[in-house]
Each structure stands twice: as C-alpha cells, then as structure tokens.
C-alpha cells in the first residue's frame, strides 16, 4: 500500500515538473496531502526558481532620485542598484538609463545634469560587475517630467534616472 502511494507521488511530481517547464509560471498540481507526517514536499524546480527570481527582479524599483543640482547616487538608490546589478548580470542583455532633471535653470545645462546622473548610475552598476558595453545612457534633461508642477514635490519626483533592462 505505501509503495503504490510513493509511486503515485513520484508520478505526480514528474508531471508537476513538466508543467512547470512551460513558458508561463503555472502552479503544478499539488499532490494530495498524505496522512503520513513523514511525507516530503516537492522541491522547487530550476525553472520555477528562475521564474521567481525574474519576478523579484521585475519588481525592483527602477527609478532612482537625486538631490537638487546633484548627481550623487543616494543610499537607498545604492541598495536598489546593488540588487538590480545582480538581476542584470543574470537576465539582461542591454540596459538603457534615462537621466532627468527638474525644470529649474537652463534647458541644455539640465540635459548635461541629467546625463551626469545617468552616468553616476551607470558607474555604480559597473562597480557591481555589470558589463559597461551593455549600458546605454540618454539624458532627457527637463524635457520629460514625471510629474507636472512647479513645487518641491514635483521637482523631487523629476530629478531621477529611469532604468530599462532588456
């Protein structure tokens, strides 16, 4: 009796593994909970693990904010970028960093400031081991505000670098 239950569990695990290899992450059918307290749960497959990691990477914050007139990567951005670097090394073939500035001051100087910020993020990623030839930086200066408005809240949200990983 125990032997056939074990066989049943084995067959269902194999079936579960096949269904997890499809492109979408679908939950493999859970084996029926057995009354035996000694039964082991199914190990996550390599594909499931990768899918979970990709999901975590996708969920990372990809916008990093800066102080006025500054291009220094702030501590919370550093933490996000350290995690992002690992994701890029595992899953990405190209990264585009878009630098921005708030509306104050002259437009072309703000283009340069946006670029400085994008470069600062690029340099941080490279320090974490990301291949620099994979990274493209573009500045939009003050041309693409995330938030309209002439106040501190809007300005703070516009001083940013956005990361797009492919």
């Amino acid at each position: 009796m125990a032997k056939s239950i074990k066989t049943l569990l084995l067959v269902m695990s194999v079936l579960g593994m096949f269904s997890a290899c499809s492109s979408k992450t679908t939950k493999s059918p859970e084996p029926e909970p057995t009354p035996t307290p000694m039964a082991t749960p199914a190990e996550p497959t390599a594909a499931e693990l990768e899918a979970q990691e990709r999901a975590k990477c996708d969920a990372l914050d990809k916008v990093y904010y800066f102080d006025f007139d500054k291009s220094v990567v702030q501590p919370d951005a550093q933490a996000a970028l350290t995690a992002e670097a690992e994701c890029i090394k595992k899953f990405s073939s190209s990264v585009r960093l878009e630098g921005n500035a708030d509306e104050r001051g002259s437009r072309e100087y703000n283009m340069a400031l946006g670029e400085r910020r994008a470069n600062a993020v690029r340099d941080y990623l490279v320090l974490q081991g990301v291949d620099p030839t994979m990274i493209e930086t573009v500045s939009y200066g003050e041309e693409r505000p995330a938030v309209m408005g002439s106040n501190e809240e809007a300005w703070a949200k516009n001083r940013r670098v956005e990361l797009i990983a492919k």
Binding site: R104, S106, Y109, M111
Partner: protein, 430 residues
C-alpha cells in the same frame, strides 16, 4: 506653398496653418513716458480688407514701449494729404507725431503711401511708399511701422522680424512637440516640424535662412538644420551622449555645440562646408555647454560649472584662453551676446529665483530685467531693444517680452499648449 515639407528622411512632419492655436499678446506693463503718436485712418483702406493696416502699425508702435497711439475715436479729422492737415486738431490731442496715408490696390497687390509729420514743428518728416502682394498686408503694415519707428527713435525697427519657438501640446502623439515660426507679434503662426519626441534649442542662422535645433526623434538627441525656404532638413550630428545647444557663427559657416562623446560635456565647432569637427573646451570634470558666438567671431561665451556651479565664461578661439565673466549669484547660464558684443543677457539665480539678467561684459555691471520667475531661454531682438524669454504663467509655459530699459512687459501665451525656447530672427531681407 513656401513651407511645404515633403522629405524622405523626415519622420514626423506636416504642413499646417494653425487655425485654432496661436499666440496672443497680453501687455502687462506699459511704459512711463511714451511718445504720443496719431495714425489717422488711411484713405482707400476698406473695412473689407482682411487686415487693418493702420491698427497693426499702431499696435507695433505701442508694443515697443516707446509710443502711445492716439485712439481713432478721439480724432477730430482724418486727413490723408498734407493740405488736409489742420495741426491744431492734433496738438489738442497731445500728439507729437502724425501719420497719414493712402492705400491703393492694383493687379499686383496693395500699395501704401504714408507720410510722417512733426506736429509741433508743423512739418513733414518723410513720404514713403511700400508695396506688397495681396497676402502681405501685415508685411506692409510692419514695414511702415519700422520706418516710422526708426525715423523718430533712430533705432532700427523689429516689426518685420520673426520668432521661432517650441510648443508642447502636452498629450502624447506624433505631433506632440512642434517647432513653430511666427511673426514678432505672434501672428501667422506655422508649424515647421512636428514630432512625438522632444525638440529643443532652436537657433536662427544669421542670414535668417536656416534654423538649427535638437531633436530626439532617433530616441537620442541629435542636431539638425532646416532650410526655411525649402523645408529641407539635414541631420548634422549623431554622436553618443549629448548633442545640444547649436549656435551659428557670425558668417553662418560654422556651428558651435555641445557633445559629451569624449566622456563629459565639452564644446565643439563643426565647419558646415568641410564637416570638420574641432574641439574647443577641455575641462574633464565639468559641464561646458550653451555656446554663443561673439559678433567678431573670435570667441565663444558659454556656461560652465568648472568653478563648482554654473557660471558664464568666454574662450578665445585662437588663443584657447578662458576668462570667467560672471561672479554674482550662485547660478548664471545660457548667455546671449548683444549685437555690439558689449553686453550679454543670461539666466541668473538670486535668492533661489531664476530671472533674466543683463550684464555689461567689460564692467560686470548687472541688472535684473524680469519680475517673473522660473525664467529661461532669453533671446534678443536684432535691434537689442527687446528681450523675449520663456516663463510660467497659470501653470503653463508662456513666452514673455520685456524692453531692455525694462519699461514695457508683455506676455505671449498660446492657446494650444506650453510654449518655450524662443529665438528671435535677425533682420530679414524681404
């Protein structure tokens, strides 16, 4: 049609005479002691004409800040010939000058004969004639306003000049960003180029025939130039990093601009005939940008933060010698030199507020010109008497103008969207 754009390499562009959009003018401050001038209605100017020539002349002179135009309803007589002038009628209104005229129409278009009189001296100053085609009544009016203005003030008039600027319709789509051209009074607005991606830094060539600007249509900034007569566009740069702030040399043979291809923003010059690129500045840790040629073609003035924060510098093109020009305020940028090379206007921050300021280059004497804030992109009229710039009003980007003696101020909002980055044309040959 003159501005028909039909080019293979243009991704987003269309011909448009904007019917619903357009700049309007709101005068926010008048001059203290304007000279009173009376413009009598012109004989032969039928109300059926598409433009009121007399009214356009009157508005031009008022907008300069130097004149007050006697309202038509106050006038006691309407002379159109010298022997019809009764000087007392004009003295009682306080007019210092009187303009009379006659409009005629022939197969070729219209002609305006107009005469300027000194009311107190009771004598004729000039008699002139200006002609135009049927579609150029506004040009006739502006030409007359220029002559009247220059005769009285000895300053060349700018009423026949034009402006270009960027408009952002604030909604995504193929025509969101537009490079626009209009008359100096905001009339006859037309779209030169439209794109779904940002456009910035438009710049007139000194012969008035071309415009250079930055476009993001390739998903990165690149510098283009456009011939205004044909609409032909040419992409001039395609470097990685910044391609920005194009500025024409006095003889239009070269463009100075900023590139960051060598690691950080530096200023380069492109010879438009040989296509040879020369690097001008060399400050590895700094941002050098926003170059502007001096009228003698021997130096560039530019913005640099090599001293820690943006300030304005001058570099001699033959010597490479760099000199700092601004020392007041913690932010000075986007310089534009006056036509005589003696002063400049710039974006200047004081107490956290961005104004437009004027500075005498030799003495360093400085004056703040604007009372608005978040001011940017100053551009000078070719006679040096008016300044146009971009600012915010009612949460919209608008253009604003101020006379250099800061006497008159007016605003040019657009009905369509945000307007910004104005560039005033040179004197145009018609």
């Amino acid at each position: 049609m003159k501005y028909c754009l039909s080019l293979v390499f243009v991704l987003f562009c269309f011909v448009c005479r904007s019917a619903s959009a357009g700049l309007t003018i709101e005068i926010t401050q008048g001059s203290d002691e304007p000279t009173p001038i009376a413009i009598a209605p012109f004989a032969g100017a039928s109300p059926a004409l598409p433009e009121d020539v007399r009214d356009i002349i009157s508005e031009d002179l008022k907008r300069s800040g130097l004149f007050r135009s006697i309202p038509q309803r106050d006038m006691l007589s309407s002379p159109s010939k010298e022997d019809e002038i009764f000087y007392r009628d004009w003295r009682v209104l306080g007019a210092s000058y009187l303009v009379i005229g006659r409009m005629t129409q022939d197969a070729n278009g219209y002609a305006l004969e107009y005469e300027l009189y000194d009311v107190l001296a009771q004598k004729n100053i000039f008699r002139k004639l200006t002609r135009g085609s049927a579609t150029s009544l506004r040009d006739i009016a502006h030409a007359a306003a220029d002559q009247i203005f220059e005769s009285i003030t000895n300053i060349r008039g700018i009423f026949s000049t034009k402006i270009i600027y960027v408009e952002d319709l604030r909604r995504d789509g193929p025509g969101r960003y537009r490079l626009m051209e209009a008359d100096a009074d905001g009339a006859r607005e037309k779209v030169l180029f439209a794109s779904s991606q940002p456009i910035l830094s438009p710049s007139w060539s000194n012969n008035g025939r071309q415009v250079a600007y930055v476009s993001f249509e390739t998903s990165r900034p690149a510098i283009y130039r456009m011939d205004l007569a044909t609409g032909t566009r040419e992409q001039l740069t395609n470097f990685r990093g910044l391609n920005g702030a194009p500025s024409w040399s006095p003889d239009d043979s070269k463009l100075a601009f900023v590139l960051s291809k060598d690691g950080n923003p530096e200023i380069y010059i492109l010879d438009l005939y040989t296509k040879r690129l020369t690097r001008v500045t060399n400050s590895p840790l700094a941002i050098d940008t926003e170059p502007n040629w001096t009228p003698d073609g021997k130096s560039l003035i530019f913005t640099s933060d090599r001293g820690g924060a943006p300030q304005i510098y001058q570099i001699g093109l033959a010597t490479g010698r760099v000199e700092r020009l601004t020392f007041d305020g913690d932010y000075n940028a986007r310089p534009r030199v006056t036509a005589d090379g003696k002063s400049l206007v710039m974006v200047h921050r004081e107490n956290g507020i961005f104004h437009i300021a004027w500075q005498d280059i030799a003495t360093g004497r400085r004056r703040i010109l604007t009372e608005t804030w978040l001011d940017e992109s100053p551009t000078l009229a070719p006679n040096g008497a008016m300044l146009l710039y971009a600012t915010q009003y009612n949460n919209k980007g608008v253009l604003a103008a101020v006379s250099l003696d800061a006497g008159v101020k007016y605003r040019l909002p657009s009905k369509a969207g945000d307007v910004r980055e104005p560039a005033w044309s040179p004197f145009l040959r018609n």
